[in-house]
Amino acid sequence: MTATVKAPAAGPGPITISLPPPRSEWSRRAARFRRNRLAVLGLALVALACLTALAAPLIAPHHYATINPGQEFLPSFSPGHLMGTDLLGRDVLSRLLFSLRTALFVGIMAELLSLIIAFAVGLLAGYKGGKIDQWLMALTDVMFAFPGYLFAVLLVAVLGRSTWAVILALTIASWVGQSRLLRAQIMRMKTLEFVEAGRAMGAGPWTLVMRYMVPGALGPVLVTTSFGIPANMLAEAGLAILGLGVAPPTPSLGTMINEGYRFVQTNPELIAWPVGVFVLIMLAFTWVGDGVRDAFDVDES
């Protein structure tokens, strides 16, 4: 874009300058993200995983719970069962697809919920400061020191084994860290000039926080989020082993890994597939996280 503008009166008369096209912060960040090839690969994998999970009912060759008597423990690459069957003769591929659905749902929902809590607590503590901050931080201290496992046990005890119980348990375990991060970010943002400028213009607390601070605090939060989702998936697998995971017949990566673990010596592919998928997703999210870090990195050389 080229435009002729009148230069400042004090300057040496009108000059023609060429302006670069407007480029928003977000497109700059996107460009920086794109520059990290692994991040792009990771994002593609995550997108693929999400699509696959969404389309699971359409693309799964069998129903995940269909039991095929007499077809138990078929090896991988058997006709009709690409990844073989499990101890009930259920199609491993179909179960894996639905597991992905569960895992992503649990991972993302738990992260979202903990983000919501973290935003409420972090913003309130960071913005208000003072007594409110002290109380909220004391609360996070207590929650931080409280064993998350106990919460999981008691929650599952009260709510029964269900996807939502798992999500809640994971949320409770992870909101503390996010809250502290957000609080720190908000405290940092509070001293920035454009936030002060906002106040000077007469912006109310809501505008200040949501319009001025949150976008700036987003970078580190997004990074932890992209690491938090696979961490939640990992935690779900851990809960599943303790018998606190998602309830059957809903398959989850955790239960599949668990079940496969029992047959690791005799039918290793039963565990190899879910672990493989799990690690791949973990890698993908990690790469995305790195890319987000790059995208928000102001110290770009």
Partner: protein, 344 residues
């Protein structure tokens, strides 16, 4: 002064944790006596306990007094170091269980942390120095892999290789130092992944600092600068990760404990939660919380030892001169990166 205030906070926090635990325990369905009467939840029984028997059970487990009295009774015991016998392990007092099992868990944790640090720090540095090379990519790939692999699976693979195939190490038990090796290895795999990433990012961050250029402008070799300047500053934040990581490892190693038959604290805690063993659950929860907070305190103090600025911040330096100056210069100092991400 500072430490005193922190300790006070720890105590208040512990009280809150204990109240929270106790309340949750009261709210949760099932109580120890009825679970026990039903055969510990594992064996079904033909008959429900008679009311006399239940009364006996209740009296035995101190559940015949009002709830708040139960709480105060336990807390009074906790303060005096006598938390009474566990419901489940009636021959052991809670403090005995902790005193017996914690050193075992802690020794595993110390071993695992040592190994992870010894492996992860060089890996992370290598990845940072050779940024965007095969080294970097490979290390980070392996780190993520290690982090993502369930540690019980890793444990089993270790057993199969070192005990089954090579017959080098005992697969289970707790009879001697040889028993430590496999669990420690299994426990260190995930932390290696976490720490390697952390070290890498921290080193990269420090390499971008102006003081590195300044040191180079004085004629330092890259390695000298790395060792004398960068590493020191990059390793400081590591301490903040290691503290909670130690607390986590020293308390939550249930899978590894059950694969290697290690009598650590994790399984007691799990059994207490499942069996609603109030004293044991309260005791272990409080212990975990205290350990975590004390570790955090220790971390802060170590940090202060390492970082003179924090030392001044905490008011641990002798003169008021610097503090006053700091107050004036507030804002001119660089900001510390916030520790990102959870450990275990």
């Amino acid at each position: 002064m500072y430490i005193g205030r922190r300790l006070l906070r720890v105590v208040l926090c512990l009280i809150a944790v204990s109240m929270l635990t106790f309340t949750l325990l009261q709210l949760a369905p099932g109580d120890f006596a009825s679970i026990q009467a039903s055969g510990g939840g594992t064996v079904g029984l033909a008959q429900e306990a008679t009311s006399e028997q239940q009364a006996g059970l209740a009296a035995r487990y101190g559940e015949d007094i009002p709830v708040w009295q139960q709480y105060l009774k336990f807390m009074a015991g906790a303060v005096t170091g006598d938390m009474g016998p566990s419901y489940k392990y009636q021959h052991l007092d809670v403090e005995e269980i902790i005193a017996g099992a914690f050193p075992i868990s802690a020794s595993l944790a110390v071993g695992a942390i040592l190994i992870s640090v010894l492996v992860a720090v060089p890996l992370g540095i290598l990845a940072a120095v050779r940024r965007k090379s095969v080294w970097d990519w490979g290390t980070m790939f392996a780190a993520t892999l290690g982090h993502g692999l369930p540690n019980y699976l890793a444990g089993l693979v270790l057993v199969i290789v070192f005990s089954g195939m090579l017959s080098l190490l005992p697969p289970f038990g707790w009879d001697g130092p040889a028993n430590m090796i496999l669990p420690v290895l299994a426990l260190s795999i995930a932390p290696i992944g976490v720490l390697a990433r952390y070290v890498r990012n921290s080193v990269l961050e420090n390499l971008r600092e102006e003081y590195v250029v300044a040191a180079k402008s004085k004629g330092g070799r890259s390695r000298t600068i790395m060792v004398r300047h960068v590493l020191r500053n990059s390793m400081m934040p590591l301490v903040t990760v290691l503290g909670p990581m130690f607390a986590g490892l020293a308390t939550g190693t249930i899978f590894v404990e059950s694969i290697f038959g290690v009598p650590g604290l994790g399984r007691y805690f799990t059994e207490a939660a499942v069996g609603r063993d109030m004293p044991l659950l309260m005791g272990t929860t409080l212990f975990f919380a205290a350990l975590l907070m004390v570790m955090n305190l220790v971390v802060d103090l170590i940090y202060a030892l390492l970082d003179p600025r924090v030392r001044a911040d905490l008011g641990l330096t002798r003169t008021g001169e610097e503090s006053a100056r700091r107050a004036r210069d507030a804002g001119s100092g660089r900001r510390r990166p916030v520790a990102v991400g959870g450990a275990s």
